[in-house]
């Protein structure tokens, strides 16, 4: 117990978790926006947009996240001079958010697409038959129902995002949990199991409520037909 208190006193574990939560929150927001855009392209009547969305999703779905994160630092930042801030930590934080968002958007698009499949074709036909445009029928009828039908897969995508946020270490975000864990293990090799346990339980405590919330929302929002 004293060992635990000593570790918690010496290192800012909660602060590190907070960094991961921030990474996750921003990436969730941006990947959701990008994912919806990709989905609209995917279901649009314009075939080039459909193709573009498909290529994007296939590319990012099949690309390891670590490669994307390393590219954000060595490619996007070092070579292409993509810079968000002059402050070192801030800059890499946003580079990591960009990488996570680009990656997660592909999965958000796929989750929402599984939701689209729960919307009967007749809903789109009825809205077209009434003279609604593609954008109107998407925003009024199809997407609201698709969202409600894809709460569970979206929840899983965001749980994966929270866990994936630890890969931000590869984008030089030094304050997040997996970086801190490595540091702690380096200096307290005799407490290695305890250190693992601290971080493992931290994530379990964060993720279980998301799972419960997802299940509740999924039942509550389900579209009755």
């Amino acid at each position: 117990m004293s060992e635990f208190l000593q570790l918690m006193g010496e290192y800012d574990v909660l602060g590190a978790f907070l960094v991961n939560i921030e990474l996750t929150a921003w990436s969730a927001l941006f990947s959701l926006l990008l994912g919806v855009l990709l989905l609209m392209m995917r279901i649009s009547p314009v075939s080039s947009l459909r193709g573009l969305s498909r290529v994007y999703v296939e590319f990012f779905k099949n690309m390891p996240l670590t490669i994307i994160m390393v590219f954000m630092v060595l490619g996007a930042f070092a070579q292409l001079k993509l810079t968000f801030s002059d402050t070192f930590a801030k800059n890499f934080f946003w580079l990591a958010v960009t990488g996570l968002s680009l990656y997660t958007a592909a999965f958000v698009c796929e989750s929402l697409r599984s939701g689209i499949n729960t919307v009967p074709l007749g809903q789109a036909e009825a809205s077209r038959a009434l003279g609604l445009s593609f954008m109107q029928s998407a925003s009024q009828i199809i997407l609201p129902q698709a969202f409600r039908g894809s709460v569970a897969p979206l929840g899983n995508t965001f749980i994966a995002l929270l866990k994936n946020s630890t890969v931000a270490a590869a984008a030089s975000v030094a304050t997040e949990t997996s970086s801190l864990m490595s540091t702690m293990i380096e200096y307290h090799a005799n407490s290695i199991l305890l250190i693992f346990a601290i971080f493992a339980f931290g994530y379990v405590i964060l993720i279980i409520p998301i799972g419960i919330l997802t299940t509740m929302l999924s039942n509550k929002l389900a579209v009755r037909r």
Partner: protein
Amino acid sequence: MLDNYEKEPLNEATVRKSDANDKAGRPLVELRHVDKHFGKLHVLKDINLSVNQGEVLVVVGPSGSGKSTMCRTINRLETIDSGEILINGQRLPQEGKGLAMLRAEVGMVFQQFNLFANKSIIENVMLAPVKVRHMDKKKAYDLAMDLLARVGVESQANKMPSQLSGGQQQRVAIARALAMQPKVMLFDEPTSALDPEMVNEVLEVMTRLAHEGMTMICVTHEMGFARRVANSVVFMADGKILEQGTPDEFFDHPKTDRAKDFLSKILTH
């Protein structure tokens, strides 16, 4: 089952009104040499059809004869391979705003009702007038309530579609289509998905609509309705129109063997 209908001919006033409106002497809906394939299957073979204003056309025929497909080509829910479809003398636009505007003029009622599951009954009816016709919400609400009252479901206005019976849902679907003040209404087997005791309430609404002078194209298996309400009956089989005539001609004196066979199968039980 259909005995409670008054058998009355389409009233004189309606016929006169439609003649007056039909300025160019053109039919309201016209199909010329329409062909369509689903892959190798030739579903519509050289379909020629015209429907005048105020006319009620009933399309009958065995399943798979292409009657639903034909009905769906009229507002381009199905595309066609060749031929042309004219509404009010205008060729059906291919895509975009023109097509959307045309669809707004053509009301459609589906077999599966297709009420918007994420909207309440009143919202279902208000949506298109507000979004497509840019009607203000108050006016759209009044219009919607009026239409719901006409089809007898005004007390359900704030419920969700899934809380209504099939017959009620289909009547709401009719009100939703009417809210766009369409020039013609398409009915694609509107009673086929209903429990038997709910068929009548929907047919009653359709009959009333016909008597009010609405131009209607109905694909249906309700022969009683066809006989009582139709001005003209079209018999389709294997993607072709085999017969067209008044209900009395068709039901009492079918010309083709295919039609005789079809009628003997459905009218003798």
